[in-house]
Symmetry: C2
Amino acid sequence: MSDLLERLRDRGWRLTAQRRVVAEVLDGDHVHYTADEVHARAAARLPEIARATVYNTLSELVSIGEVIEVSTDGRAKRYDPNARHSHQHLVCSKCGTIRDVHPSGDPLAGLPESERFGFTISDATVTYRGTCPQCAAG
Amino acid sequence: MSDLLERLRDRGWRLTAQRRVVAEVLDGDHVHYTADEVHARAAARLPEIARATVYNTLSELVSIGEVIEVSTDGRAKRYDPNARHSHQHLVCSKCGTIRDVHPSGDPLAGLPESERFGFTISDATVTYRGTCPQCAAG
DNA sequence: TTCTTGACTTAGACAATGTCCAATGTAGGA
DNA sequence: TCCTACATTGGACATTGTCTAAGTCAAGAA
Ligand SMILES: [Mn+2]
Ligand SMILES: [Mn+2]
Ligand SMILES: [Zn+2]
Ligand SMILES: [Zn+2]
């Protein structure tokens, strides 16, 4: 993710060791870690990193649009580095696995004007729930 | 909500004063209170009701399908007595107001087989976000 | 009506997640 | 190399939710 580090430098961010390891943890497809999971993985590389620093960095990444927050249940928020391509989520009800999915069509299209209550709607998030192949097999 | 109390009695529930006031609080349209909001409103009628009792009663109502849990943000879960008619939610990004909405079409239809990763999908929840008329005017 | 009993409620400790702050450290420019 | 504004740290605190031991009571039995 030197791409990400490059963009952060362009924004005037100081490139500290802590921000580097958080950026490294948030790399890959279908990555949706909780803040504590990010902290644990970051601490494996930089043991003294503080929880508050991870929370700070994640909030900053979210506020500049490099990472999105995902709330699939009522538990901890998850942090998703796949912010460039709009997508939705498919969640296994049993094991909690989360996959990125790309539905066809405009999700706002299904909501008739009579059901908008005068709101100006900006977006729709869809969460699909089901059972993953592993859980179905077990 | 004597309908609800009747159904609870049929299930063998003991009809305590605490369960009655929780059922009374959970009455109406577009009702989506947090557990603490339910507790505050219940305590206005029955001051000694405990937080744990409200949590217990809400969990039981959810488990028997009389109430739905709604997580629109990463904060507290909300409890929705409109469990008989399937619906989705429209949330104001500024003030948090939540309205029930009824989109047309099957929300699962938009997800192609190639995007299902072998999951057996059981349902989809959609959260529309925007600005409500009051917040737009203010 | 009164009694009995197992289900229900209570208060508070504890857990999980997240926010905030004062003290300390340091990245990057001068 | 030195400065200093920005970043990090550790821990206190807040919010939301869970759990348990002890006390209470709804509803059927007698
Ligand atoms: Mn994702
Ligand atoms: Mn609703
Ligand atoms: Zn699974
Ligand atoms: Zn509003």
